[in-house]
Point group: C2
Chain length 335, copies 2
């Protein structure tokens, strides 16, 4: 793997991010009633890594160097992602998003629900305006499949909360749907817009899905092991809420194998001191070597993603390394 | 206006309804997780007049006699309409829909919200499958505009509940957006699919919008003056909830002109006997001749709709009379 200094990509990430933020600022999100439209601008302006539109630009640049042509459709993936956040936050009763009040807190649940509906409609409207007509039918078909998957993943995630028999394969399928398919679609969208053939674009989708599953596993690990000073939210939140993360599921499996039930007891407790529970479960994870096992799984997904990428022939090979570096940053990030 | 026996339409309404119900039964609404998909089948099977898909078929038959070709796209307007019902029922906290528990009562709010999102995505997916590719871009553009209008109308409606200065023109604009644009789009969609030129289809949209405003005004009147035995829901519900209907707004205007405030006093009361309030406000409406004024307004919209329809030249003139009869049934219906 060449170092970053050794390759000269078509554009820098900073340059791309600047173009994306600029486009977001100029999105036409005005309309009446004001309270229906204001949450769209609000949630879009809260920031974030803009990972999905960056993947569109990176996928595009594998086949065409005029990456700025893909900025408008790229942003639409971010609009769709933010629609899911708006509705997920209602469903999760979440008060805070990126350090700011969630839309349903700032306005109210009904307004946030309806603004979300509008954002989903805008997703289709803006895609139809930003995508060349000869590519629109294919992309719409792929996007619909992706969007349906995201809904299925969110429903599985909610159902898992009250289930005690979630299998690890079920969990991996859930995070694939809820998180990874949109990352996969983003790469695929970029590739198609750049001129990739459908089968090449489909390979990029798989590369994005593999990295996306790794990304979500990393999130699970960080929720327990991140530095509380820089994490931005409470470390151990998943533990407190008995979230069936990969870490919890393999720990439960190990307990079952050794006929122990310390973790299960913590899960069953309805009254507990949060800090005490997080500390005890983290220690239990440490004793069972859970972090290393989760990292191993995560790295497997990323490695498989890189392997598929390495095996793919693209028009601009330098950009392939640039994409790989981007995925490695996701793999190595410390929140 | 010829009587129904004098014209021989391409198809009977019964025949059309049967084809629609049959298509709804065969919609592929299966998938996993089951609870995400089940509410779609549930709400679609609750029945209703299927007014929107019937308008698609009627619009289509003005230009082409093979009306069965339009059944599949017609159903999608009903899917979209039912998506709005699913989300509206959450927002209105409604326990009952067509005599059955609403989806959020039968499952839960989160599931109903997410199933609604899925139905909106399915709307786009099924449109893209049912509409010929050469007409898809135009129809998508028209549909997006319609769907955005429906969201705007719903938000206006919610905001009017807590406003005491709603103007009659604002109210008419709200019901145009919330109810009428989808009826207009349905006629337009049918016309385009049947082979109408875009400007002819746009005239049919206007005809549908005018009838749609009339339809909503009729709903307002029925809420006060329907026969309680056949109405299916509580008569006077709008009065109890201080809904700013056309009747209430003109009554308030008349009170203002004569410097009375009986109605305003009823609106301001936080504690009251529901029956007493409905009786008092209805009497007040009677004294002010509100029903006749509302019917006059409603009839104006329908008349204007018929006038535009009469002036429109279409390929199958007989079907024009058939459409007019259908709109007249909406005008004259007794719930």
């Amino acid at each position: 793997m060449p170092k970053e200094t050794q390759i000269i990509p078509t554009f820098s990430l900073q340059e791309a991010q600047k173009a994306l933020e600029n486009h977001i600022k100029n999105l036409n999100t005005e309309g009446k009633p004001t309270d229906l439209y204001a949450p769209i601008e609000y949630i879009m302006s809260l920031g974030g890594k803009r990972m999905r539109p960056l993947l569109v630009l990176l996928g595009y640049s594998l086949y065409d160097s005029e990456w700025k042509n893909a900025v408008a459709p790229a942003i639409v993936t971010e609009v769709f992602h933010n629609f899911t956040l708006l509705h997920d936050d209602i469903m999760d009763n979440a008060p805070i998003r990126r350090g700011q009040p969630t839309a349903h807190e700032k306005w109210n649940e009904n307004t946030a629900l309806l603004s979300g509906d509008l954002m989903l409609i805008k997703t289709y409207q803006w895609f139809s305006e930003a995508i060349p007509s000869d590519k629109f039918a294919l992309i719409l078909q792929l996007f619909n499949k992706c969007a349906i998957g995201v809904c299925e993943g969110q429903q599985f995630d909610m159902e898992f909360e009250s289930r005690n028999d979630v299998k690890i394969e079920e969990y991996l399928e859930m995070i694939k749907l809820k998180t990874a398919v949109l990352l996969g679609f983003s790469l695929e969208l970029g590739a198609i817009l750049g001129g990739a053939k459908p089968f090449e674009a489909a390979q990029l989708r798989e590369i994005g899905i593999l990295a996306g599953i790794g990304f979500q596993l990393h999130d699970d690990i960080l929720d327990v092991y991140a530095d509380p000073k820089t994490f931005g939210k409470r470390v151990g939140g998943d533990i407190t809420e008995n979230k069936k993360t990969y870490l919890m599921l393999i720990a439960l499996q190990k307990e079952k194998e050794t006929q122990q039930n310390e973790l299960q007891n913590w899960i069953n407790k309805t009254e507990f001191d949060e800090k005490e529970k997080v500390k005890a479960v983290t220690e239990l994870y440490n004793n069972l070597n859970i972090r290393a096992l989760a990292e191993e799984k995560m790295n497997q997904y990323f490695e498989k993603s890189y392997q598929n990428l390495d095996n793919l022939s693209v028009k601009h090979e330098t950009q392939k390394q640039f994409l790989k570096q981007f995925l490695m940053k996701i793999q190595e990030r410390q929140k």
